[in-house]
């Protein structure tokens, strides 16, 4: 199975089709540019608006990217779409929620006698712990998910684990609802990353608010992504993961414990999802059992957009999708309701032009 996959089959593009495609792409591009140009001229969207749009796109995109990496990591190794990944993120987000909630309940008296919560007295500890716990339980969920729902299906036809993943996703979502209730729960952020606070950047007469929580999310996701990239490229564990991805049996012949590596992959991918979950909570101020569904689908899209199985691809795909989603409707002058229509249309367009994603395997022709 492994061999069938790493030679990602791409059909031989024929010359005429190529030319037609190029022309079509060119026409679409010109139309897009014209449209954007017109809209930009007509609407009075100032520079500040564009900046706001880009920043919010980047932040959302960063989170998509984090989740997408989890998808890609697992896909790279098992060639399966881990449909339950979004739910793992949801569970992570509850981990962070409960840490904040608990810390908020602990009162602390400051030197000057004022009463504040431990959450605000030691925000750094609180945030760190929230991430640790969120990532921890998400990692644990990932670990058991693999062990229970996927490991028995090793070697089954490709779509079977997908269905198992869908079942697991339904299970986890409902477990979340039953455990924590259907209502949304508000994330009590430490004040220093409150969603209303941030840097005021004056632009063209108005001010643009860059929230601390947003920038924090962005920086954190960037850091995590780089760390992960280094892990996969530079460390022995990373090499082992790549080896397992390329050929499980031969990997075993090198002395790699394949099951262990797969477990570890799920743990890492779960932890990433968990961090995204906590971030999502902090940035948006709430969580509930359904919070993983939409980002899950989006991140999956991002992973494919970037070239599924490819870690830098997932990052780029996530950021790209985030930005397209937020700038797209404004730039094209389309109703925001159609945000996802634009996002998916761009996806289709990109894949038609680059059938294996933005950074997917360089388009070599299949060797037979």
């Amino acid at each position: 199975m492994a061999e069938e996959h790493h030679k990602r089959p791409v059909k031989m593009p024929q010359l005429n089709i190529k030319i037609i495609r190029l022309i079509a792409a060119f026409v679409v591009l010109v139309l897009l540019i014209l449209r954007i140009h017109n809209v930009a001229l007509e609407s009075q969207l100032g520079a500040s608006t564009w900046l706001r749009l880009s920043v919010s796109g980047l932040i959302i995109g960063g989170m998509y990217a984090l989740i997408a990496i989890g998808y890609t990591l697992v896909y790279g190794i098992l060639f399966m779409i881990n449909f339950a990944h979004g739910e793992v993120m949801m569970i992570g987000s509850f981990g962070g929620y409960f840490v904040f909630e608990a810390f908020n309940a602990i009162p602390v008296t400051l030197h000057d006698g004022t009463q504040i919560s431990f959450l605000n007295a030691q925000p750094v500890i609180a945030i760190l712990l929230a991430f640790l716990i969120g990532m921890g339980i998400a990692a644990l969920t990932g670990y058991f998910l693999e062990k229970i729902a996927y490991r028995p299906l090793r070697g089954a036809p490709r779509l079977v684990p997908l269905i198992s993943a869908i079942g697991a996703s339904i299970f986890l979502q409902n477990a979340g609802q039953l455990l924590f209730g259907p209502q949304r729960r508000q994330y009590i952020n430490p004040v220093i990353i409150d969603r209303g606070l941030g840097w005021q950047i004056p632009i063209a007469g108005t001010k643009v608010l860059l929230t601390y929580s947003g920038i924090f999310s962005l920086v954190l996701s960037a850091t995590l992504m780089v760390a992960l990239y280094l892990l996969v490229q530079r460390t022995k564990l990373g090499r082992a993961m790549r080896a397992v991805a390329q050929d499980k049996r031969t990997a075993a012949l090198m002395g790699i414990n394949v099951d262990k590596i797969i477990s570890q992959t799920f743990v890492i991918s779960g932890a990433l999802a968990g961090s995204a979950g906590v971030m999502w909570g902090i940035h948006n101020g709430l969580t509930n059992y359904f919070v993983g569904f939409l980002p899950g689908i989006k991140a999956f899209t991002a992973a494919v957009l970037g070239g599924i199985g490819n870690i830098p691809g997932a990052m780029i795909g996530g950021l790209f999708l985030g930005i397209v989603e937020s700038i797209g409707p404004a730039a094209l002058g389309i109703d925001f309701q159609l945000q996802d229509v634009i996002a998916f249309s761009i996806l289709i367009l990109v894949l038609i032009l680059r059938p294996s994603g933005i950074l997917g395997e360089a388009l070599t022709e299949e060797k037979v």
């Binding site: 729902a149 036809p157 229509v341």
Partner: protein, 517 residues
Amino acid sequence: MNNLHIQKSAKNGLVFAVIIIFLALIGFTVTAASMIQKVFGVEVSVGTMPKYSALIAFLAFIGLWNGWRAAKQTEEHPLQAGHAILAGLASGFVTGLFALGYSLIVGTLQSNGVNVRVYLSSLSPESIIYFLFGQSPLSGGFIQLSLSTVSAAFGALLVIFWDRSQHQFLIWKQKLSAWGNASWPAKLRRNVFVGYIAMGVVLLLLVILPRTWGSYWNYVMGTVGIYVLLGIGLNIIVGYSGQLVLGYVAFFAIGAYSFALVTAPEPHNLNWNFWIAILVAVVASAISGVLIGLPILRLRGDYLAIVTLGFGEIIRILIKSDLLKEITLGPRGIRNIAGPTLFGKSFSSDSDFMYLIILAVLLSIFLARRWQESRIGRAWLAISQDETVAQATGVDTYKYKLLALAIGAAFAGLGGAIFASRNQFTGPEDHVLMVSINVLCLVIVGGMGSIPGVILGAFALKGLPEILRELESYRLLVFGALLVLMMIVRPEGLWPATRPKYEENSPPPVTVEGGSR
């Protein structure tokens, strides 16, 4: 019995501890107990908890299972009674300890006036007290501990009995199958008329049942039937031609909406005839299949999956968007969709619809089989297994893939039209991603590429949740778990596909177990 065994048993106990505590946390213990009580014919009165005996029965059942698993894990042949019971005891004890711990924590919190429910919403005071058998946390916990240990030991005993009787059981089984292969059942099986008679009985049932089983079952079975239709369509795309499509609902939506728009008084007041409208729906879906297929069929595997998923979402969002509100009435949906008429007479009762659906399903099975068992089916299969080589062997892959998509879409369109007509209403909420996922699941749960599989799968996917309604809010939880279980137990599907035979008088072919590639 060594350290390793003890460790294994403890680990098993831990697993069951997690299960028990999870079930308690989501309040499933109460629901399970009430169901047990109901099975014994005692209704649970409103606003009260079931009897404690029901809870004991439920916990004992889990304990038996716990002990069973623990004893099996010793992997001894033959099983030694002492070891097995010890393993069961150990495992049960570990589980019990955790149950005790849980009881203490939750019970103490509860008695100290903490409203646990604020954090864990299923954990009502009554359910906590119920879990503690109405006792103090400590004594309630000890009841749990002893119950778990004792029942696990009995579970281990069961294994021993099973082990002892297995040999006998196997002999019986062999005898039975030998007899089945040798005497009249075998003759019956080989007789073609038996097949015809069986088919006749099924047909007769299909004719009689809709009249007799009431509107609810007509509705549920009608839904199952519509999903069979969808399943057969998607099976052509995914099962036969091997293209993973996750946005199948798009074609369903196009079928439902085009049918609705040409028959409903609002918004266009066209009021077309039912049969013409059905045709329109089928053709519109098929054309949309071709149109979306043209640019994207070059994509393979998961790239195709995500693009079609996107397409499904695009259609759904467009339907409810402001942009198309004039045409589709936006999120409100379309009402007063026409029902079937024949010679000016209306056939819109639930059993009429059931017959219509049965007819449509029979027709689609007939067509799907025709295609499947022809050169087209072979070409699809070849494409699904090795597209590159199929093409180099002379198969016009592009054409066949488009054909599969168009036919699959047409079936979805038919399903959508019947669906809209039966509900007399359709709205964007009917065409969400879950529909695609459900149809994909039923195709694979049933056994990819197999038509009987699709039918079984549709019962599993759409019938099961209806049956599980008894479970109330645990319905989907259990359903999700069952889905995972089904895949693990039968990865090749409930009724896997087989290949037809062409060579006469050939020796029986060697088969390989499992569907692994």
